[in-house]
Amino acid sequence: MKPIALALTAALFGLSVSASLAHEFKLGALEIDHPYARATPPNAPVSGGYMTIRNTGDEADRLISGEAAFAKRVEIHEMSMDGDVMKMREIKGGLEIPAGGEVTLKPGGFHVMFIGLDGQLIEGESRPATLTFQKAGSIELEFSVENVMKMKHDMKSHGHGDMDHGDMNKDAMKDDG
């Protein structure tokens, strides 16, 4: 009985994980894949929102604004490195989503910035936010809260060995670009 129960649990767990990882929204010609927000340390007043936006239409569109009940302001930003200096800029006029193309918002590049959080964003939660596009209009999305970089508590609970940790770190960097 036990192995069967274990296998069943594993299968169910696998299902629920893949269900929560793959959520997609449609708005006219736009497909928005897996919106997620960075889990925050306590007191951190900002978080980043990430997703892939595909434009299946034959006209370019622009992500121009956003709003969320859990943040005072939502802005569209780009982060870049200039030598050893980190720079962050609001993208004036919005982020273009080219016709037939896709744009990925991810750590280290474009992101939606949630400013003035009403509380800590904890892994496993989800938060609704509305994004507005110049042509396609507005859509409410559920951002799943994820540990983009695993924080201390997770590292401890998983009990990584020394070398494992280094590897995990590198992998995380690769994934996150």
């Binding site: 960075r38 340390p41 306590p42 007191n43 951190a44 007043p45 900002v46 978080s47 980043g48 302001r73 802005e75 930003h77 982060m79 490195m81 030598g83 050893d84 200096v85 980190m86 720079k87 962050m88 800029r89 609001e90 750590p107 280290g108 992101h111 910035m113 400013i115 983009v148 970089m149 695993k150 924080m151 201390k152 590292m155 990584h160 020394d162 070398m163 940790h165 280094g166 590897d167 995990m168 770190n169 590198k170 960097m173 996150d176």
Partner: protein, 190 residues
């Protein structure tokens, strides 16, 4: 004789620059920093004496930083984890470039979410500005909407030996193995 000595000196500087290679303006073994009177994340006074006697990592950032600061603190926690006992002597500080908004309480919650090995430092903005300048760190306020602002800032981690001499930097996103190797060298446990 004098010319030979001069050549040797130039050669040595060139070697340091080539080996260092991480920052154009900084050379290994130079003195960085200044005296200061600031506040640590427990609300206690802290001075430059805190950096003495132990190999030290110094990182400048702010808690409204969505990317570089959480990533760097996370990685720092990972390096220290990987070093284990070999890194027991290492101490690490996270100095705010946004002291007007980063109170000691905010710094403490933020730093300790990643590791208890990193101590946040904040305090008087003019004093912070002096420290930032003395470390050759770039930090600039960039206005955003609603009279708000964000900060551009140097994202490298500075490595200082137990004598307070600058030994190099770890760049943002540098691979974990290289970073840990640099720390082993810094602690003399290579």
């Amino acid at each position: 004789m004098f010319a030979a000595l001069l050549l040797l000196t130039i050669g040595l500087l060139g070697w340091q620059f080539a080996v260092q290679g991480t920052d154009r303006s900084l050379t290994a073994s130079m003195k960085l920093g200044t005296d200061f009177n600031l506040i640590d994340h427990n609300g206690d006074p802290i001075t430059e004496a805190a950096f003495d006697g132990q190999p030290t990592l110094v990182f400048f950032g702010f808690t409204r930083c969505p990317e570089v600061c959480p990533t760097t603190l996370y990685e720092m926690a990972g390096w220290l984890d990987t070093l284990g006992e070999a890194g027991n002597d290492l101490q690490a500080f996270f100095i705010s470039v946004d002291p007007e908004r980063d109170t000691p309480e905010i710094m403490k919650g933020y730093a300790e979410a990643f590791t208890e090995r990193v101590t946040g430092i904040t305090g008087d903005p003019d004093e912070i500005a002096r420290v930032v300048a003395a470390w050759h760190v770039y930090a600039a306020r960039i206005p955003t909407e609603d009279d708000d602002y964000t900060m551009d800032h140097t994202a490298s981690v500075f490595l200082m030996d137990a004598n307070g001499d600058f030994k190099g930097t770890i760049a943002y996103g540098e691979n974990a193995e290289t970073a840990v190797a640099k720390l082993r060298q810094l602690t003399g446990n290579s």
